[in-house]
Symmetry: C2
Subunit: 129 residues, 2 copies
Amino acid sequence: MPRGWGRRQMMGDCPQPRRISRFLEPALLLLLHDKPAHAYALVDNLDKLGMEAYPADISAIYRILYDLEAQGMITSAHDAESSAGPPRRVYTLTEAGEVYLNAWVQELRQTDQMLHRFLQVYDAHVNSA
Amino acid sequence: MPRGWGRRQMMGDCPQPRRISRFLEPALLLLLHDKPAHAYALVDNLDKLGMEAYPADISAIYRILYDLEAQGMITSAHDAESSAGPPRRVYTLTEAGEVYLNAWVQELRQTDQMLHRFLQVYDAHVNSA
DNA sequence: TTCACTAATTGATATTTACAAATAGATGAT
DNA sequence: ATCATCTATTTGTAAATATCAATTAGTGAA
């Protein structure tokens, strides 16, 4: 056993697979590609993307939205119809955002292939055993 | 534009999709599921998993291996046949490691479905436009 | 006003990545 | 033997992300 200092996965004690990450940003972009929405609607719609199993952190969502807006990928404005709280902010995808989403899609197609390969290899190992 | 502080993606200036992450650990486990190997062999074999596009950071690999060993998922020993450098360490998957890999596979099957759903929705949007 | 509720924001810390550099063993040349 | 050089491993550090907890704000009702 080498002496290098471990630095990962100290969370909890029994190691568990951690969900693949960095998927929230493209998911939000995709939802906004459909139509403008405010944060809480986005949370709800993530489920429809098949992310029920991965309840998203609301603060993470707001931070991603903030950054996307700072980068010109989305714009925001106060909702016309008001709700039972502070005015909701409605986010809209920009042209730049569409381009960015498209780049994400290409990236994710590669990821998808990678995953397929992985699962294929695993199944092959198991079946031959 | 809200005033919350952005905290992401300050790397470079023009935002780029960043590859989905946390995939290295299961990939290494899968390779070791095939047969014991040392770090550099693992680097080479990652390509065969369809990860050519994602050259892995060698230090990341060593750290993951360190942690996996600390958690009993793999064991290591010095290679019998020595090479043109310090003795290579050969890693072997343990039973616990197999179980862990299996948990990863289940996790990744879900991820795969999520990705499919995502791409499906995107394609539907685009095709209907 | 105070409470409950929804929406948005902030804080703090843990985890993970990404890049750079240092250490260490082996071999061969000078 | 010392040095340069190659391979293999290890360490350092800062940036980026994730996670959890708490706080601030607006609205309407009791």
